[in-house]
Amino acid sequence: MTLQSAVYILIMLFLAFVLEHIPVPDMLSWFTPSWVMLVITAMVMFAPAAFGLWIAVPLGLMLDVEHGSLLGLHVLLVGLHVFLLQLLYRRMYLFNVLQQAAVLFLMIMAEQILHYWAVAVMQEGAPPVPLLAPALTTAFLWPWIYVIGYRSLQRLERA
């Protein structure tokens, strides 16, 4: 991995955290996608050798502070996400973008269910977790992220 692509990834992550914090109107709040998860997906898919399970710890803890959830919750979710991606990314290369989005939809759904279970076990009287809507919007945004990531990867490799 070159210095250039490392800087590029850091900028993308920073933007993802900015988007995660941006205030949204009440109606849209049901459909807030997990921006950081999208960038993590791109990172693991395009540079599987560099980004493994270890990114779950720093990024998960940062997400926990951002969302005010119990420390460790997002470590668990990001860890599972990375693991599922590592199982599937070779196959996902062969899929077209829409099929990839469908796989991502199922993955985020599974993680939201895990999120709900973890919170329900750990925290009595915890608020419910929206299951379907964030998975839908995240999957919907994936084709754009994929194209941006793929194009910039090509450009970085040519340079």
Binding site: S29, L53, V57, V65, G68, G72, L76, P130
Partner: protein
């Protein structure tokens, strides 16, 4: 995939569940959370940058005419408030001397810090907001937050430059209140809707009327006494139920207030002394 990946994932899962348990049961991890606040702060500041820029532009491009008019209105209001404050000073003194007669030494006025709302938590199931004052300004967990009209909520999470406030309308929140007219005590819990609180465990025969002002009673030792919380909007006596269903509307503008007050009371910051028996000497 690297070797032993399944075992490693299991290890991460166990580690994170342990972290969650520790964070929920004990306060050891609070410094970690506070430190991580520094890491996330740049992104959070950037996210609210457009807001700050539009505010700055609005302030700097306002018309002179508008400013003069606003200034006039404000000075008139100031005059009215000054008049009230003059009476307030004498009333406060009178109140103090009466309290001295009763040998109760309560503070009437509290120290406050002005803050502004920077974000609203996007989670639709909770009613939380984020404010722009944090641990560096002396904000602490459990601190009461007011707006110009009444009680708004309490601080639940502090990072160096911002804090998270749980509003009284959150369904996990409850305030001990009393009716201003006659002192009947009750507990106001949030319903999840911003314009409605519920009074729980109110007997069918309690003297509460529609339009009654509810003020904080200070019995929970969290909120100072005597700040307006809500006005009663409806009372329903359900036959066969032992408690009346009382609904109230918060007086604070939960969805509109931009500027809030953080209250520093002795009550809220008081930590029990380590040696409980020693203080009796």
């Amino acid at each position: 995939m690297p070797p032993f990946q399944g075992q490693r994932v299991a290890l991460v899962a166990i580690l994170s569940l342990t972290l969650m348990w520790l964070d929920h049961q004990y306060t050891w991890l609070d410094p970690v959370r506070y430190g991580l606040g520094y890491v996330v702060a740049p992104a959070q500041q950037t996210a609210v940058l457009p807001l700050a820029v539009t505010e700055w532009l609005g302030e700097n491009t306002a018309l002179r005419r508008q400013l003069i008019r606003e200034n006039k209105i404000l000075s008139v209001r100031n005059l009215v408030l000054e008049r009230k404050a003059q009476r307030m000073a004498s009333l406060e003194a009178e109140n103090l001397s009466l309290r001295e007669l009763l040998s109760a030494s309560d503070q009437v006025d509290d120290r406050v810090l002005v803050t502004s709302v920077t974000a609203v938590d996007p989670d639709p199931y909770t009613q939380q907001i984020i404010i722009d004052k944090g641990g560096r300004d002396g904000v602490f967990v459990g601190q009461p937050v007011l707006d110009a009209h009444g009680l708004l909520g309490q601080v639940i999470d502090v990072t160096p430059f911002s804090s998270r406030v749980l509003m009284i309308a959150d369904s996990n929140h409850a305030v001990p209140v009393q009716v201003n007219r006659n002192g009947v005590r009750a507990i106001a819990t949030g319903t999840g809707a911003l314009n409605e609180l519920e009074l729980i465990y109110v007997p069918n025969t309690a003297d509460i009327k529609v339009g009654d002002m509810l003020v904080s009673s200070g019995l929970g030792k969290r909120y100072p006494q005597g700040y307006p919380v809500a006005t009663v909007s409806s009372i329903e006596n359900v036959p066969g139920e032992s408690f009346a269903a009382v609904k109230a509307e918060p007086t604070a503008k939960l969805d509109r207030s931009r500027y809030l007050l953080l209250v520093f009371t002795d009550e809220a910051a008081r930590v029990p002394p380590e040696n409980l028996w020693g203080s009796a000497e």
